[in-house]
Symmetry: C2
Subunit: 598 residues, 2 copies
Amino acid sequence: MKNKESIDVIRHSCAHVLAAAIQSLYPQARFGVGPVIENGFYYDIEIPGSAISQADLPTIEKAMKSLIKKGVKFEQVEISLQEAIDFFAQNDQPYKVELLKELQNRGTTRLEDSAEPYRADQPVSLYKTGTFTDLCRGPHVSSTKEITPFKLTNVAGAYWRGDEKNPMLTRIYGVCFSNKDELAEHLRLLEEAKRRDHRKIGKELDLFFFDDLVGKGLPIWLPNGQVMKTEIEKLAEEFEYRYGYDRITTPHLAKKELYEASGHIPYYQDDMYPPMEMDDGTYYLKAMNCPHHHLVYNSKPRSYRDLPIRLAEYGTVYRNELSGTLAGLLRVRMLSMNDAHIYCRKDQIQDELKKVIELNLEYFKLFGLQKYWFRFSKWSAGHTEKYVNEPANWEYTQQVMKEILDDLGVNYIEVEDEAAFYGPKIDVQFKSVIGREETMSTIQLDFAAKTRFDLKYTDNKGDDNNEVYVIHRAPLSTHERFMAFLIEHYAGNFPVWLSPIQISLLPVGSDHHDYVAAMAAEFKTAGLRTRPDYSNETIGNKIRKTSSLKIPYTLVIGDKEINSDKLQVRLRGEKELLEITKADFITRVKEEIEHRKS
Amino acid sequence: MKNKESIDVIRHSCAHVLAAAIQSLYPQARFGVGPVIENGFYYDIEIPGSAISQADLPTIEKAMKSLIKKGVKFEQVEISLQEAIDFFAQNDQPYKVELLKELQNRGTTRLEDSAEPYRADQPVSLYKTGTFTDLCRGPHVSSTKEITPFKLTNVAGAYWRGDEKNPMLTRIYGVCFSNKDELAEHLRLLEEAKRRDHRKIGKELDLFFFDDLVGKGLPIWLPNGQVMKTEIEKLAEEFEYRYGYDRITTPHLAKKELYEASGHIPYYQDDMYPPMEMDDGTYYLKAMNCPHHHLVYNSKPRSYRDLPIRLAEYGTVYRNELSGTLAGLLRVRMLSMNDAHIYCRKDQIQDELKKVIELNLEYFKLFGLQKYWFRFSKWSAGHTEKYVNEPANWEYTQQVMKEILDDLGVNYIEVEDEAAFYGPKIDVQFKSVIGREETMSTIQLDFAAKTRFDLKYTDNKGDDNNEVYVIHRAPLSTHERFMAFLIEHYAGNFPVWLSPIQISLLPVGSDHHDYVAAMAAEFKTAGLRTRPDYSNETIGNKIRKTSSLKIPYTLVIGDKEINSDKLQVRLRGEKELLEITKADFITRVKEEIEHRKS
């Protein structure tokens, strides 16, 4: 059994083994449901008189392994629905009874209705694994011996059938893989994900925090986080300067009339913040930068010579996400992004798209992103109702996009019928260090804006030409997501140029404070970020603190160091000290920063 | 007659002379009112069958001068109210009749009620100047010969008594000064103000614009304006890096609860944008950065060693100004500012205030501001209801402020009873190039925040200490006002470092485009901002365009220039060309930028 279906059968069978083990340990257990999920399974269980916690998982795993070793058979039994109800009622399994009654009344146990409902004359299927019997349609493996390596990972509370009016059951999660290596790799990634969690590291390194008085989904950037934010924005400014972008700033608000023109009202209204009534009309916080940028394009007549015009903004947009869905930096209510819109003629699309992709590749190289691929989303000629009806434009731009991807020799996949309604798009996908597939960047080509906003230019004959194409691009995702990515990607061990603190200065005693202060001032003048530690802690504690702050360079300063010609530099994560003169050290660090060495 | 009262009598008399001249030129004229205003006067007039425009002012001035030359007497006549009504009715002066009837019914002709209303048995006062008779209490000069130099400046429409339901009258404005030099200086400043108007120059140089779809008071920054904005912010970042500030970013929103804690609700609520109801509470756009900064201060325990903490932000705040009051960049609804709050111990106030003032002085020097002085606002021990009741703190901090101002040897004035309610303040006043007194910067010391937000630190004995003083400062005003100031101050002739475009590149013909493009690329790599002009215009027109864009350096590139070893550089506003090698030119401009030469 090698394909996805087979492993899911094993995972489902493993859930039964979990339930059987639970029943052997807690005979009073009442069972809910135990479905397959990504990488594994869970089972919802009620255990009257007992509370299962993380600490109980090893015992349960042991019981499961014992069942697996025994090679217990999975046996299917078909009985009538009434017999099944009687059986589970006798065994004090009220949740199974409830499911069977649903099956009787609604023709299905699923929350949504079924296309092929259960008929009263049909039998129901049970599966027996030793003494444990479950209501289940299968399929299953034939014996517990076929269960592949697994691990119970987590315990959580879950309302029966997801409804908070129902009792809270205990949900036990497990993962299960085809072989030990896959399981080990998955567990390693889970540990990595915990270790690299941006909320955890964000707190440890004083990067950002949330405050209930400010509200959910609104991160506050502390000095250390702000340093990183500034460095990233400086990087974007440099890159965009080289690539010929013009920077602008647009207000964070606009009148209702703008969003009616753009179509955000009514189509996108639910995602926007509530309107504000002012003395001269209704205002909204912006949910996207494009409408403002189109107004900038239209603020003066444009000639064919002026195009392409590349308008970039460190723009901030506002999305009215439900408070329950907000999570760290990954889902926020105020998003900043290094956004840009490129306005070009039809004959410039190819060049401009190519440059955008090249810009992306430069970023990926800088941040050491290797496992990425492109996802090229096209329209479907059969679904014209979903798309701007300009077949010639679709053919032309898709052809252009494909040629560029081929020319660049990058990995890409093509997907039909997944374009934006206004044009084809290229998403950049990558696999994060914890194995999660993420979209880093989206490049979209827009045919609709030119009509909605009457974008035009004067062509070389002096005539109005409405063929203005708009490329939307935000290569560094939103600022918030990108910071979460960076934290996770580097596990907080940022390259020197990104490190909020680059050099840790640790005076051995208070006699060395003045010398350290002078040194800090010298480094500061050279543009290096230091953290002198004047606390009363022992030097050992100071070094441990430095290490927890993941500072790239550490200098311990005592009598010996003051009287030496050279510095003894501790490098983050290395045991060997670097012996170097102060001047050479400053030059070295400055060079690392200038070239953004990773 | 030398004091303000005397010049106002002359100005008022000049208004009568204006009315007399109008009557001689337009016998059908009906007169409204003609009061004294700053620097001069106006008169509201209705001229049935004629429309007076700016072009008519010289003729009217000539008639006025002729009356002045004749030495016509100002004669007061007192008659009964009924006689006065009959007189003005006979002379077809309905507005004067209306005023007299107001006097009869309400006891005053003023819009507000009078403390000493007119009594029916009192006479009313008329003034005669030749054949012109006005309802007027005086006083006046005795003869038109005493009228000092004047000039009619403007014609505008004005509703009778300021009510749009009334007829629109013609308002003629004039200025009048004690002597010719004062008048000439005033007229020069008026011309300068027109020439330097930030809205006019902002448009000419493509710095910013407004769009009705975005809304009033919400400037959109175009690429040229954005360059200046970025340069200013870079300057602020550099200065604050040197002065030991930490940068943060706080969200533009917060929950109602924060503004209740800060006291903005209810005290400042009218100036704030309307609330937005979200699924987890009520949110407001922020009107000030301080509450957010206080939360950052409180986000972790602070030790006496950590203080002072200087939190700086390029912060954006939102003020709900009435749409009718918005004007260019001077009054907007979304304000950005280089804001900061310094949290310090009592014994650090002196040092911190001093450094803030020094930072201000550095800025002023850089921008060539010479005519500034400090305005030191103190509390009043007699008005304790207006102030935080901490007399010892008032005495201490006022003493500290005074000592600092004395030590620095700067010009300052002291004003009693004008402090903020939470502490004394220092405003920096200056006289702009068009003679207007403006506040550039405010430095406030805050005793109230520590109590409202429970700001504290652990002192050197390990105890909680609530004596945290907060200095609010924004040395470059709001970003929008500062940009308006810079535009006016330099009349658009910005120093090289601030110039959106530094070098204008003008190919003589299309044969020279490639050479110019290569040159532009070379300058760009050196970090210099160019504008190559590839239009089909003549070289003469290209040079005129460059000049209107106030670009510091211009290079005309033809065959001769391409074959020469040296550049011939045109300097803004100078006739002499600068002969220099390209390498030296690049070095020169880069140095000017680096040192921010004015």
